[in-house]
């Protein structure tokens, strides 16, 4: 809320201020195609001119400054070397002059040294400046003989009792005496205190050696004085040399900053003079865009700008003219539109009652624009009116004719209903009849079957009786045979009794003979004894035979008696068989009668069964037919009901239609 509300507050007043909305300043409008193409004229000039002019200027100046600085440093060093050289020459001449006059005097005599110092101070002292120090060092002992400094230098800062310098001087002088310069370099480079050691030939005289090195932040030049062991030393602070370049750089930087500012200011001024007329023109354009068409652009700035402004003024004039024309056309159109609206209003006014069903209304054809539509509406209303009248008439006709016919239709429906009812009842009784006929047919069938069975049973019975008669007849003949055989048996047994009486006589006579024989034998004595035994045995046998025959005669008599009884029984049986045969015969005759009758019953039954079957078939057909009739009458009933219903519905529809059409006013 806090972030959005100030925005809202800011935006809403800006809507009234066209200038602000048209020139969006805030970054949120960076999507604006006006801003997307790049910065303003000022920005573009700065972006193009500054890199293309200032940077090369800076680079060239840097190179020049560095070159000058280097030369300046070299000059300083050469100047220092020159001082050393002049010192050397002066000292050398001084010493040579002294040695010419007094060859015994030592070079390092303090008086001589003092003299040298005085001369140097007088002729070279003013040459020394800054931190320059001129010294004479004894090459044998390494002692500093004398020191010369510029007047403003504090002596305490200068190292007068330093061994290193003495050592260097010693080594240098020894090497010069030994004329062995490579060794001196090697041995000097071993000294840690000094650095950047190098041996050069003097620029003034090539045969003079010059030792250059750095020690304790100072730059040293050593030159030997020939024919003596004294070495001239001149030194300067390294800082002083670099300081020369530093001053130049500061100068250069301030100049370039000044130039830079000047260039930027120039560019801004140029951009201002170029873009101001354009800005003015833009502001005018924005005023026009916001609706003020009376604005005229001033002819100012460059030629292009003036042309642009002039053309712009012409454009505005043309736009104004066009607007005026447009306004006239719009006015005309508005008038036409108003007329059209009025016509439409009139049309609606004329036709509005058609909504409520008044089909007699018509649109007037007075309007040039609307009369086509009015004619269309009129045509439609004409047709509607006609249709409504027709519908009204026909619905009245329909409902009246339906009203007339309604009663007869009702009657017809009732008749159909009762007819259907009757048919249904008839169908029911026909179905019952058919059912009973079916039953009769079944019963007749059963009776026929039973009669059939009875017939076959009777046939079987007749057969059995036939067989019985046959067996009785055979029994009769067999009995007759048996009786005959019995008679013969009786006769045979009589024969047997005759034979038996013969045997009895024989046995009697045999017994007599045996008695006679035994008598005779008894007479015969001993010899007749055996014979007597035989005669006795024969007598016994005769007796046995006699008893046996008696038994036989008895048996025969019994047989004869039984045979007689059997014969009698046989005779009785035979007569019975005859009676039975007669009975069976009559039974057979009666059975045959039964058979005949049952055959006729069977046929009768078959006939009955056949006729009932065909009757059942017929009754089934009748039932089917009656069913169909019932169905048809049912259908007829249904359809007549339907017809009655739909006639009623039609009547209702006709009534509805009538009431609906009633809404239309057609006359």
């Amino acid at each position: 809320m806090n972030t959005s509300s100030p925005e809202l507050v800011k935006v809403s007043p800006s809507l009234t201020d066209n200038q602000e909305t048209l020139i969006p300043q805030s970054p949120e409008f960076s999507n604006d195609p006006v801003k997307r193409g790049g910065g303003s004229l000022r920005q573009r000039l700065l972006l193009t001119v500054v890199p293309t002019t200032l940077i090369p200027l800076v680079v060239v100046s840097l190179i020049g400054i560095n070159f000058t600085r280097y030369q300046e440093q070299q000059n300083q060093l050469t100047k220092m070397e020159n001082i050393a050289f002049v010192t050397k020459e002066t000292t050398q001449i001084f010493l040579e002059n002294i040695s010419k006059n007094n060859p015994q005097i030592q070079n390092n005599n303090p008086l001589i040294i003092q003299g040298i110092k005085d001369i140097l101070a007088r002729f070279l002292g003013f040459q020394l400046s800054g931190s320059q120090i001129l010294q004479l060092i004894d090459g044998n002992t390494g002692k500093i003989l004398t020191t010369l400094t510029p007047q403003d230098v504090n002596l305490s800062t200068i190292m007068t009792e330093d061994n290193t310098l003495g050592n260097v001087a010693k080594i240098f002088s020894q090497s010069l005496q030994a004329k062995n310069s490579p060794t001196v370099l090697a041995s000097l480079k071993q000294l840690r205190e000094i650095s950047k050691v190098r041996l050069e030939n003097s620029r003034q005289k090539t045969d003079t050696k010059l030792l250059i090195f750095e020690y304790q932040g100072r730059y040293f030049n050593f030159i030997p004085i020939p024919n003596s062991n004294i070495i001239v030393s001149i030194s300067i602070n390294q800082g002083e040399i670099t300081q020369i370049g530093g001053e130049l750089i500061i100068l250069f930087i301030s100049i370039s900053i000044f130039l830079g500012f000047l260039a930027v200011a120039n560019i801004i001024l140029l951009a201002q003079t170029l873009s101001q007329p354009l800005m003015n023109l833009t502001n005018k354009v924005q005023r026009i865009v916001s609706g003020d068409l009376n604005v005229r652009a001033d002819l100012e700035g460059t030629e292009e700008n003036r042309t642009l402004a002039d053309n712009f003024n012409i454009l505005i004039q043309k736009v104004n003219e066009l607007l005026k024309e447009q306004e006239i056309i719009a006015n005309e159109q508005r008038q036409e539109k108003e007329k059209l609206e009025q016509d439409i209003y009139q049309l609606l006014d004329e036709l509005q009652y058609a909504i409520d069903g008044d089909l007699t209304v018509r649109a007037s054809l007075t309007s040039m624009e609307m009369s086509t539509i009015a004619d269309l509406c009129n045509a439609m209303l004409d047709n509607l009116q006609e249709i409504a009248v027709q519908v009204k008439e026909s619905s009245v006709e329909v409902s009246s004719s339906l009203g007339e016919n309604e009663q007869s239709i009702q009657l017809l429906a009732e008749q159909t209903l009762s007819e259907a009812d009757e048919t249904r009842k008839t169908l029911k009784s026909v179905q019952q009849m058919s059912l009973s006929i079916q039953q009769v047919a079944t019963n007749a069938n059963q009776a026929a079957t039973l009669a059939d069975d009875a017939y076959s049973l009777t046939q079987e019975g007749s057969k059995v009786i036939d067989e019985t008669v046959a067996s009785i007849l055979s029994l009769r003949s067999k009995v007759g045979n048996t009786a005959k055989k019995m008679k013969r048996l009786g006769e045979s047994s009589q024969n047997i009794s005759q034979v038996v009486s013969l045997i009895q006589e024989i046995a009697l006579k045999t017994n007599l003979l045996a008695i006679n024989a035994s008598v005779e034998a008894s007479r015969a004595g001993e010899q007749g004894q055996g014979f007597t035994i035989v005669a006795e045995q024969v007598g016994a046998l005769a007796q046995q035979s006699a008893s046996a025959t008696k038994q036989i005669a008895q048996l025969v008599a019994e047989i004869q008696q039984e045979t007689q009884e059997v014969t009698l029984a046989m005779e009785a049986g035979t007569s019975q068989v005859v009676n039975t045969t007669r009975l069976v015969e009559s039974t057979k005759q009666r059975l045959e009668q039964v058979l005949n009758r049952s055959r006729s019953i069977n046929e009768l039954m078959k006939n009955i069964s056949q006729s009932t079957v065909s009757q059942a078939k017929t009754s089934r057909l009748v039932t089917e037919l009656m069913k169909q009739i019932a169905q048809q009458s049912e259908e007829r009933l249904n359809s007549s009901l339907e017809i009655a219903k739909s006639i009623k519905a039609t009547a209702q529809v006709a009534q509805q239609m009538e009431s609906v059409v009633e809404q239309f006013k057609v006359e």
Binding site: R362, S364, L365, S371, T372, A379, D382
Partner: protein
């Protein structure tokens, strides 16, 4: 010569068209609205009807529709004669059975040419 029924609610127009046609040799009958025109058609059976569109009561196109509905008058050609001059007006008039369409104002030559064309 052919008999032409001219229908217009403005008497000046009626007189002008009648004069044009009479001078061209046609027999002219006149009516001032659609209803009257229908009666005249029934009475005198003209060979062609020239009618204004915008008339009070029955307009010219109503007259045309009525003529086209009746089988006895269906063959009588109708020429619409109106100040309305838009494509949609012509289209509508043609749909209603108008045979030719003359835009007011017109010259005698123009109307005679149109009538001759229609008669053919």
């Amino acid at each position: 010569m052919s008999k032409i029924l001219v229908v217009d609610d403005l008497k000046s127009e009626l007189d002008l068209i009648s004069a044009y046609l009479t001078s061209a040799g046609y027999t002219v009958e006149t009516a001032t609205d659609g209803k009257q025109a229908l009666e005249k058609v029934a009475d005198s059976k003209p060979d062609l009807v020239v009618t204004d569109w915008m008339m009070p009561g029955m307009g010219g196109l109503y007259l045309c529709r009525q003529l086209k509905k009746n089988p006895e008058t269906i063959d009588i050609p109708v020429v619409a004669c109106t100040a309305k001059n838009r494509d949609v007006d012509r289209m509508w008039a043609t749909k209603q059975g108008v045979k030719a369409y003359i835009v007011k104002p017109f010259t005698q030559e123009e109307i005679i040419n149109v009538i001759k064309q229609v008669m053919e």
